[in-house]
């Protein structure tokens, strides 16, 4: 028996829906292990369009009919996007939050995580997108506010463009002020006798000008930053991953076996879903995964969807280009014992590409293999106490 919860805020393509439905459907039925599981899928933001899109709606209808799967849609966001009526009538079994007698979407998510992670004292959000260009920071504030409301310690890990949340002097004319929101949450947390643990990755902050070298001391100092988010090395942020608490993100989730989940450090599965070089997603996801594995956290990296392009051909970085060769990163880290690399075979087949033969330690994985990785049965040697999943 296990409990699994997903939070999806980003668009869900037909391709993603296919493999998710395969993996979650298999886990919900536990065809491979005989164990039973409860899977809750929380949808908000752009992910809600997948409930009405003809390319993805049938899969949601199928999943929501499974007795072990509960799909929960953010009613406020559905109404904002004009989706409330078609969604309510189109998918039987779907739960829509926010009506008169129901808990809010974020309150329901927090109630769910308290059941999934019994005894947890905190809950975290990994923020990877910047305020205003993305609505995810608004969701982060709503989530962490509910975390505090439940008497837990809120934790915020700002990574990649998520570090822009710490910029001092934010003054949006139309949108919710994220900087002020974080400061208010921090103050409320202290007043409630809880500890806010709000941090931003020093590498990401340095790259974006928020952490500048003082030539006199040789050390970096925060520049134009709100005081409520501390800039820390990624290693310190990842040290929090050793704790028994949930970490939500814009796309991700967790699986916790019933009863004995508190034993051991939760494992981590990172999905690389973007092409390798024209955004920071692949490098950021790989960096985080490798650093976690080097700190002893058992970590899987799954190249999936457009992420499989990281493994195609042989990458040759020009001498004048300052960018990490992703294939070289993978090649020199396959000797890390706690790190496993996988490539999703259907994603490779769909694109008609072939992956490089130089990376033979990257194992092919089918949907069934992914299901076994994400929801290992107790008798499985890969069984782990709890697993966190993050999409990059």
């Amino acid at each position: 028996m296990f409990s699994s919860t997903f939070l999806f805020c980003d668009p869900i393509s037909g391709e993603r829906m296919r493999w998710l439905a395969g993996v979650i459907g298999t886990a919900g039925g536990q065809e491979h292990s005989g164990d039973t599981g409860n899977v809750k899928i929380f949808l908000t933001g752009d992910a809600l369009f997948s409930l009405v899109d003809a390319r993805t709606r049938p899969a949601w209808a199928t999943l929501s009919r499974l007795p072990s799967v509960l799909v929960i849609a953010d009613g406020d966001e559905l109404r904002l996007q004009g989706l409330a009526d078609p969604v309510a009538s189109g998918i039987p079994g779907l739960r829509i939050t926010g009506s008169a007698n129901r808990e809010s979407f974020w309150g329901e998510l927090v109630s769910s995580l308290e059941k999934d992670w019994p005894g947890t004292r905190s809950a975290a959000f990994l923020l990877c997108t910047s305020p205003y260009m993305s609505r995810v920071p608004v969701y982060m504030l709503r989530f962490l506010t509910c975390v505090l409301g439940a008497g837990l310690h809120p934790e915020l890990y700002c990574y990649l463009d998520g570090v822009h949340a710490l910029h001092d002097g934010q003054r949006p004319s139309e949108f919710e002020n994220i900087g002020k929101g974080v400061s208010a949450l921090s103050g409320n947390t202290v007043r409630a006798c809880r500890d806010p643990w709000f941090a931003a990755c020093s590498r990401c902050a340095t790259a974006r000008g928020y952490y500048q070298m003082n030539p006199g001391t040789g050390f970096c100092e925060p520049a134009s930053c709100i005081q409520d988010i501390a800039i820390k090395p990624l290693k310190e942020i990842l040290a929090r991953f050793s704790g028994f608490h949930p970490i939500a993100s814009h796309m991700g989730g967790w699986t916790v076996p019933a009863g004995d989940g508190k034993e051991g450090v939760p494992t981590l599965t990172v999905f690389i879903t973007h092409p390798p070089y024209c955004s920071e997603w692949t490098f950021g996801g790989l960096s985080l995964a490798i650093a976690a594995a080097m700190d002893g956290i058992s970590t899987n990296v799954v190249f999936i969807e457009d992420g499989v392009y990281a493994l195609q051909g042989n990458h040759d970085v020009p001498d004048n280009d300052r960018i990490f060769n992703v294939q070289e990163m993978i090649a020199v880290t396959t000797d890390i014992g706690s790190l496993s690399y996988y490539v999703h075979a259907p994603s490779v087949a769909d694109r008609g590409v072939s992956t490089t033969g130089n990376l033979s330690l990257v194992r092919e994985a089918s949907d069934g293999d992914l299901s076994r990785i994400l929801f290992p049965a107790k008798k499985d040697p890969a069984f782990t106490p709890a697993m966190r999943m993050l999409f990059f």
């Binding site: 040789g218 290693k235 490798i290 650093a291 020199v332 880290t333």
Partner: protein
């Protein structure tokens, strides 16, 4: 005195510096050396451990928290 051939790795995380050094050292011929700038924390956490893997690691402080590191095969 700055060594113009040495790259500045002082802003890499310890993990990414380790990856960068493994990539560079894999391509290094016997007798050759990699030279770069690093912070004290990087020297202690990432550079020094390479001495236990058959490499010769030396460093010189050139400014506050700035070290010129050389790793040779």
């Amino acid at each position: 005195m700055e060594n113009t051939n040495a790259k500045d790795f002082s802003e890499l995380t310890c993990t990414n510096l380790m990856i960068k050094l493994k990539i560079l050292l894999n391509k290094l011929s016997p007798g050759d050396t990699v030279a770069f700038y690093a912070t004290r924390e990087q020297v202690d956490n990432t550079c020094s451990p390479f001495s236990g893997q058959g490499y010769q690691v030396t460093w010189t402080e050139v400014a506050a928290n700035r070290y010129l590191v050389r790793i040779g095969k």
